[in-house]
Symmetry: C2
Subunit: 500 residues, 2 copies
């Protein structure tokens, strides 16, 4: 010990020097040398290239003319799962009836399995491969179907909703498989009609309840965003009752010079009806609509106070002058545990740039109500129809008016103390060295309610989208931070789940 | 005489037989052998083919991307006038400033002359070669830019407004020239920006007041429809104050799930503002807007009682259940001598088929007021802006709102006892064997007011469109009856004018 009395000090200095070379974030992480994370970091380029290939397929399920692209997207996904060693069934779910009465085939649904060891738990993941409509002229900075990397973000339609999230999961599986470390059996349940209401899916679940879906322990939906940079685990989602109001005043569009002052214009009626839906503060004016909303429980508001969400920063990011509610808790509750109504647009009127002096003959207003527990879509439908029909009748217009509820998706809410939520929280801490936010989604994951109702298994929404991903808007993106970190999160979640 | 006592009787029977072979309509016409009419009848196929060629050029002036097509249309028109022996100047009228701040060249204006004999009167004709937007998916039965003949009608964008009308005039000139019978000097003044407000035209008229426009006796505008099968000569037109209301709530479109209940939605504000414009019966709610409307003169209502217009037939043709006014006179007066307001559509919102759950960030509502003597566009602009700004301020929305009057075209009204109106009435009687209806247009012919103000010459609107031509709508058409009869009408009018 006397030979070299200064050694311990020398070692200390040397080690201290080495420590200074290591980036701070690694120091904070409790498992800096997690092999699976290293593997994932080493394959980032490949993951981004695959996302680029998948975004390029215009799988817009709302446009019947793009049905072939949706089908192609399902095939490409199938091929990748086969590469991972999975087995895949492409389930036929019948036909879609279009507004004009024609029918076209619905895209097949992927029912895949990877592993079936008896001693391992089985997790079923749900995701979707279809996207919302997108056109560059809507205000995109770049072509929506060409993935563009800029300032740490990956821009493109579906980058976040939901191609990026499904790919993060598939890459997590690939990394675990390649490391010979897949600790669970996995089922993959991937559809192509989510953005238009998951046509045909409920019947498929019912039909496959005792076969594909029979031996499942956990269900995870990979289609939700976080509320901030901090990962969020979602235990609830609002529903969606999507309506159209169609008003027709003449057989064909008319010139506003030749006929203005002669006809009861369809647009006037539609605008009047749409204007009767909410007040200036967004409060829904449909009588009775708030009656079924679950009352606030005793400590419920506190849940929202703890969530990481910077109101002012969000406001500034969105370019919004003022939010409808001032406090963080109020705002978050109106985002996810109270209903809201949005008017999306009008079909059949002049929507181009410039001027057109037309009296549109038939116009279709579109709006939706995000409803919450315990609002039943069928009740909402009746309330909305009764109200609008009575408003229209008050107006005494001679025009034809028809209201249709196009989508009637239920809200969903579960118990966040179930075991797989613990696994997910531990995975978040391992990957991001932070406590996850426990949140409810403002959007709709109809599948959550349906799967839980039919299968009666624990269900969790573990998405990896960012709060500002602009899903459904222009310049949709996912950050590389979320995309790669999310891949690690799925891998870690499966490891944690196996060790429960 | 005794040699053949039965001869007179024989001749009578023979002539009676011959008379039976002559079609009825010729018998009713006072000038059955008018050579110019025979010439025109003999060239119908050629006239229709040329209309087909011209309709195929997509000269939509509202779409900057189609500016080259408008330019091409002007070139083709120039070439035909040169063929007729005319001289043509293509007048440069400068640039158009687009909404995004960019500028693009305006299409040139045709200033042409055919003949300059000192002993002949000079008539200046105005028409336009640009068209309204048209897409087959708007509800056209056939491609809007392919002229299709069906049941005596010629369908295609611009068939009636205004390519068909200008071509009828040019063919009338061609027929008179080929018969060596052009009895007047003709000037042709043809533009390519009428459908978007005749940008740059007023300055051109001012600049050319003492040159091209200096030695004109009469001005005729060939851009109006009749009110029935009966030809109409137009002595007045409404103006057009076209407005946009732009409301912006966020930087980009938002997902209605993620943000519904958080933001003051731009669509809600816009719908509210649009709804405040008229009541259920189309009455304009902008304060003071009716104050400047010229009061009804003593016998004015009688003018409308004599016009041929079958209210029930019109209603049925349009597929309209009920008109805003019941009596023929009331309806016609609200069509052309009282103002009306039409809402045309919304730019920036979801306008496709299917469902999109978007909260549009920036929406632009478009509406226009067809104003009448003595409503000044600048006064209308102030009234509308003041009213909407006060309504918006009442709403207390934090969003940005901006109102713009994009078009401010004046109404026009003249004295229908001027000499050229007599020539036109005589021409109508010669061609159609009927008394013309003296009418006012519900639409806008901004050029009428401008030309009259600058040149101080007698101006008449002698159009040949039909009442159901659906100009600005789907399936625009002109009937062969109007197209060919209209060609004869222009030829006869010039002959009658020369004999005044």
């Amino acid at each position: 010990m006397a030979e070299n009395p200064r050694l311990p000090d020398q070692v200390s200095f040397y080690h201290l020097f080495l420590l200074l070379l290591i980036p701070c974030q690694v120091l904070l992480s409790p498992v800096p040398n997690d092999q699976i994370f290293q593997y994932i970091d080493g394959h980032q380029k490949e993951y981004i290239q695959r996302l680029k290939d998948w975004v390029a397929i215009q799988s817009d399920s709302s446009d019947p003319r793009k049905r072939q692209d949706v089908n192609k997207m399902m095939e490409v996904t199938k091929d990748f799962i086969l590469q991972l060693g999975g087995t895949v069934e492409m389930a036929d779910i019948g036909e879609q009836r279009l507004a004009n009465g024609e029918t076209i085939p619905l895209p097949p649904v992927i029912l895949a399995e990877i592993g079936n060891a008896e001693n391992k738990p089985t997790v079923c993941f749900y995701g979707h491969m279809d996207v919302q409509p997108a056109k560059q002229e809507d205000g995109w900075s770049t072509d929506p179907y060409t993935l563009v990397e800029k300032d740490g973000n990956l821009y493109g339609r579906g980058a976040s909703d939901d191609k990026g999230q499904v790919l993060a999961l598939l890459h997590a599986l690939e990394s675990l498989i390649n490391m010979n470390d897949l600790p669970v059996n996995v089922k993959l349940f991937i559809e192509g009609m989510e953005e238009t209401g998951s046509d045909g899916l409920e019947m498929l679940i019912e039909n496959k309840k005792d076969t594909f879906f029979s031996n499942i322990d956990y269900i995870v939906v990979t289609d939700t965003p976080w509320l901030s940079k901090k990962p969020g685990i979602t235990y609830g989602a609002r529903g969606n009752c999507y309506f159209s109001i169609e008003v027709q005043s003449s057989k064909v569009d008319l010139h506003s010079g030749g006929f203005g002052g002669m006809v009861y214009e369809a647009m006037g009626d539609l605008i009047y009806l749409l204007n009767s839906l909410t007040d200036a503060n967004g409060r829904i004016l449909v009588p009775g609509i708030y009656e079924a909303v679950a009352p606030l429980s005793e400590n419920e508001e506190d849940l929202y106070k703890d969530i990481e969400f910077d109101v002012d920063e969000q406001r500034a990011n969105l370019g919004v002058k003022k939010f409808l509610h001032e406090s963080k808790a109020d705002l978050l509750m109106h985002r996810c545990r109270y209903p809201s109504l949005s008017i999306h647009g009008i079909e059949g009127a002049f929507s181009g740039t410039g001027t057109k002096t037309v009296i549109p003959s038939k116009v279709i207003g579109k709006f939706s109500i995000r409803q919450v527990p315990n609002m039943e879509p069928s009740v909402v439908e009746k309330q909305v129809k009764d109200y609008l029909e009575s408003k229209f009748s008050e107006r005494k217009s001679p025009n034809e008016m028809k209201i249709t509820m196009i989508i009637g998706a239920k809200p969903w809410l579960t118990n966040m103390t179930e075991p797989q939520y613990h696994a997910a929280r531990r995975a978040v801490t391992r990957v991001f060295n932070i406590e996850a936010d426990m949140i409810r989604a403002g959007g709709t994951i109809p599948i959550a309610k349906t799967l839980e109702d039919y299968l009666g298994k624990s269900l969790m929404l573990l998405g990896i989208g960012g709060p500002d991903d602009a899903t459904h808007g222009q310049n949709e993106k996912i950050s590389k931070y979320n995309y790669i970190g999310g891949t690690k999160l799925y891998a870690a979640y499966l490891q944690e789940l196996a060790s429960l």
